[in-house]
Symmetry: C2
Subunit: 456 residues, 2 copies
Amino acid sequence: MNRLQIIQANAFHSPKYGKIEFLENVLFCVDAKGVIQDIIHTDHPDYLQVLASAKEAGNLQTYPKGSYLLPGFIDLHVHAPQWPQAGVALDRPLYDWLNQCTFPLEAKYADLNFAREVYTDLVHQLLQRGTTTVLYFGSIHSDSCLELAKACIQQGQRGLVGKVVMDDPKQNPEYYRDSSTQEALAETERFILKMLELNQSAPQGVYPVVTPRFIPSCTDEALKGLGELAQKYDVHIQSHCSESDWEHEHVHTRFGKTDSQALHDFGLLGKKSVMAHCTFLGEDGAKLFAQTGTAIAHCPISNAYFGNSVLPTASLQKLGVDIGLGTDISGGFSPSLYDNLKQAVISSRMLEDGVDSTKPPEERGLADSRISIIEAFWHATTGGGKALSLPIGQFKKEFAFDAQVVQIDSQNKPYTMPDFGLFNSEEEILQKILYLATPQMIREVWVQGKKVYTNH
Amino acid sequence: MNRLQIIQANAFHSPKYGKIEFLENVLFCVDAKGVIQDIIHTDHPDYLQVLASAKEAGNLQTYPKGSYLLPGFIDLHVHAPQWPQAGVALDRPLYDWLNQCTFPLEAKYADLNFAREVYTDLVHQLLQRGTTTVLYFGSIHSDSCLELAKACIQQGQRGLVGKVVMDDPKQNPEYYRDSSTQEALAETERFILKMLELNQSAPQGVYPVVTPRFIPSCTDEALKGLGELAQKYDVHIQSHCSESDWEHEHVHTRFGKTDSQALHDFGLLGKKSVMAHCTFLGEDGAKLFAQTGTAIAHCPISNAYFGNSVLPTASLQKLGVDIGLGTDISGGFSPSLYDNLKQAVISSRMLEDGVDSTKPPEERGLADSRISIIEAFWHATTGGGKALSLPIGQFKKEFAFDAQVVQIDSQNKPYTMPDFGLFNSEEEILQKILYLATPQMIREVWVQGKKVYTNH
């Protein structure tokens, strides 16, 4: 037992969609690799003995009343270089936003020092908000993408990082694009190899991701080559898919088929693929995603600005599509998945009820579209783990011990939740955490069995 | 000059809809009544002298770099007794939510000790989030509503408080309704008189508000009597108006006219009237509101759960209707107007773009519906002041000095905003504050020239 850490705590997680499981005062037994070896419940015959020996050995972690563990959140879509512009310029049209703000900003990451400064802060900010795993878009610059992976290693976050490919000279500005298709593919391969090397020193995992920005910015040759690289190294793939009216139309005009079908034909869909937005995926696209095991990074805040519509989460879920949540920094302003959880629920209700009060109720919305906050919680945790095909997002044997410790108690704390001895069932406590927690209430964050952040 | 406090600071406000004004390093001269007597800009010939004498007299307040003053936010719709259930049960239909959770909870406020405990916490929580003025619904119990006013006085918040009237035995549960119409009106009048008395000891103002819950819960006689009381004492009026498909239909069936017209005919619309939600107000209702000076409390988070639609803010604004923002605790889960500001923008964009991706763009949304974050900021400040017909919400001579001090600087602070020397125009700084500030960044709150909250 000596090499195990024992963490005694109350915890919530959601192994099954729409359901929560409350683990009351359990003992998490975490091995030296940061993996949960066992979860011992209070009624287990060994409970007291394991507790006593951990106390004696000095490897017991306990928490005061009012503390709850949640699985670390999994953010499936972050444009790391866009962090400096989070919250600004969101009133501009997409084209201006990209060309006047985003692309000039991303071009700055040719500077490794700038990259290091921004990425160090971003990783910290995401950890502070309980996010333990992130699927990152970098910029086109492989070396600054490696800086992002190093920031993850240094701070203990699990990071999946992609060097962005955007090679089509007709679609991308000269100051910010891959210098050629060959170069884009060669740099991607070099990046993959460097990342596999870095991963050796990262117990929590840092993984390379094949990352065509989206079909409109890439040549056919690049897309084909990236599909082949992903297969060769068996690595993750990410891109944007069917995000807006414009993107949807663009791909249809170019290939005479949908975005999802085109991605599939380039070998870019599969169990390790995560596609952002997908608001215009449609039923055929959904079936293709379900068949291939491709997941959606649902970014509800960003979709309100650039997605032209709401992702029909409830119906996609029924079709068997894997769905997780993404902040989409900086198309989405917030670095917090809590904010996106809430917006996922709100947007789903607005899809169900409709938005235009001049229309009669039956024409206004789309019935049976709402999801609950507990379902959104599943997307931010279990769903994210499934999307990435990694053993994360749940408190479960053989899964990584990734957790955020939320303290809702009012004792000497500046930010508290309403209590008054009411609405304190297990599910209500979790609802209050998800709806009302402020960043300040996230007291600790653990990744792969290691405490990587504390704010007390 | 001796009796003046001098506050030297950078400040943002929005005297004109859609525009911001940045006051750089100005001197706010605030008199003993907490009113702004003057705002001295750096280029004014007296600037240095006023600064020097304030320093000498020891009545100068300064702030470190990275601090910005915003007007205190004005929350136009809070159900104070519902604070204990914020964030819970939002997945239930409105009828169950009211009858199983809300009404039983509100009935508990017959207990003054319980009222005192909850209201003390609620006022504190709202102040922590920069909210300096609140238009509160209480419960049916006059004495516990007076406890709410006392909590405001004790903590220095400006509170407008209504004893709720719901007298119709056919529409309200026996355990939670006014015992008779006469009693409802007599209690309202007693409450008004007590509040006018309490107001004597509250420099920031605590005001009585005539508060029929909404038309469906009141008899004709009560509505008429309340209109008369409001006129007799020249006090504020609040209620709900055209909130949902159900309410809209109910009133139409009962009176053969719209909710707004019915309220008007009972003498309940006017310059001091604020009506919550109004999602189904329609163009005729909007014109009536504009004519009478009646304001809308726009509650974008709550509307996503119970409003069945989005308030068409942009078009109502063009019709000249006064609009401010409300959290609608606990139909809205969040005690923060920051969250509602952001949702106001998001909801407006979803109204413009539509929500159902299976429809073509031209049928999906309603053109020209979006508002900007700067326009939403106006609603939370200047708009709220206009709605209440009080000199608040702007930094302006003869206005109350109500401010929140937001510190975005990274020096030794746990929560910071992205900077990196980019996107730092005045408007971009304000956008970042509005989109990214956490409660922790609100370092001080001032009401009527008095510092009523600090977190440092």
